[in-house]
Symmetry: C2
Subunit: 218 residues, 2 copies
């Protein structure tokens, strides 16, 4: 079926969380295929999965004969083939602002804090539990400080990161804040971020995409 979607996902992966939000906003119901990142040394490293996604990370979207990794590439693709509701504004400058906000999470915070980085810090660098916790807090705080300033200082910030409808920026922000809450990070310094998070989680598309609500949640 040319228009059938399947998503390889893991409940706790924040990149998978982003794609689940986007699919919900678009009203697309994919077949979910669960990739447990911890069992059997990580099923993302199995031959079957690594043939599909040589980066051996989740998520992966399958759409007909197309196989696509990288959450932001998946979300931009969904937005191009299913334009309603839009996940990016129409104006070029507004789109740029939304992408800047999205990448401020996706290129500056999340890559430093995912599971394989924690494993390398522990196994190869010899960092203990406390040092790894400090590492995670450091990059989240640094990233959130920048994001809070970008959002609080701009008249373009609205109910959501950009105006009155959720965009790619909110889709990246909410999963990162979920990680921060899981790590018990104090978020008092980021009132704009947490206000927008609450607005997002009032929407069913965001709420239903949360890790605890997934069939593979533990």
């Amino acid at each position: 079926m040319a228009d059938a979607f399947a998503l390889y996902t893991y409940f706790r992966s924040s990149a998978s969380f982003r794609v689940r939000i986007a699919l919900n906003l678009k009203g697309i119901e994919p077949e979910f295929r669960f990739v447990h990142l911890l069992r059997e040394g990580g099923r993302q490293h199995s031959g079957e999965y690594s043939r599909l996604n040589p980066q051996e990370i989740v998520p992966t979207l399958v759409h007909g004969s197309h196989v696509l990794g990288q959450s932001l590439a998946i979300i931009e693709y969904l937005d191009e083939i299913h334009p309603q509701p839009p996940l990016l504004p129409r104006d070029a400058w507004a789109r740029a602002r939304v992408r800047q906000l999205a990448y401020a999470t996706a290129c500056e915070i999340q890559p430093l804090n995912n599971l394989r980085v924690q494993n390398y810090l522990r196994d190869a660098i010899g960092a203990d539990h406390s040092a790894i916790g400090n590492w995670q807090g450091h990059w989240m705080e640094l990233g959130f400080r920048g994001l809070e300033a970008l959002l609080a200082n701009s008249p373009e910030t609205g109910r959501f990161c950009h105006g009155a409808a959720p965009t790619l920026a909110d889709i990246c922000l909410v999963p990162q804040l979920a990680n921060a809450r899981r790590a018990r990070l104090n978020l008092d310094s980021y009132p704009t971020l947490t206000r927008i998070e609450a607005e997002c989680l009032d929407l069913k598309a965001f709420a239903d995409a949360q890790p605890a609500r997934q069939p593979d949640a533990e």
Copy 2:
């Protein structure tokens, strides 16, 4: 002037390198403003710069009254306002593939290896020079292995990462390979990546954007 561009840049920053390539491909000549990441504790942390870019990282593009951080947001913006020559293909699936390849570098390799991460590993984790070198090599090798498989196995790979013209994927790849060469990483296992790198560096837009050719190079 509404159409005047200024780029805050540092010669050795690979994110700045990406934007320099994109500007050269588009034939845009911005005013360059140099931000030395090592002098005076890092001029990206000065009040003047952090008001412009609260993330305190380079590059930042100023276009008329717009101020924009995040290299990939800048490049997508340039591509939208100056569509020729295109930096993304027209077809939605092809665009998705190019973005996946670009993010495989920009979200999986570069964020783990930039200057502030090296500083934190040294100062807060206590990693020595050798451990930091291993860290950098590890993330580059992991990322390059995935990229090599994605590129070598696809009929859509051409003279460049996607077909016969350079795209966002090549713009991300070449600066990362430059970092790898600087770190003396053995690249023998990535023949597709190095073949494409050579094709790119034959183009004046890529060659002129290299760190050593910048006015602020040391």
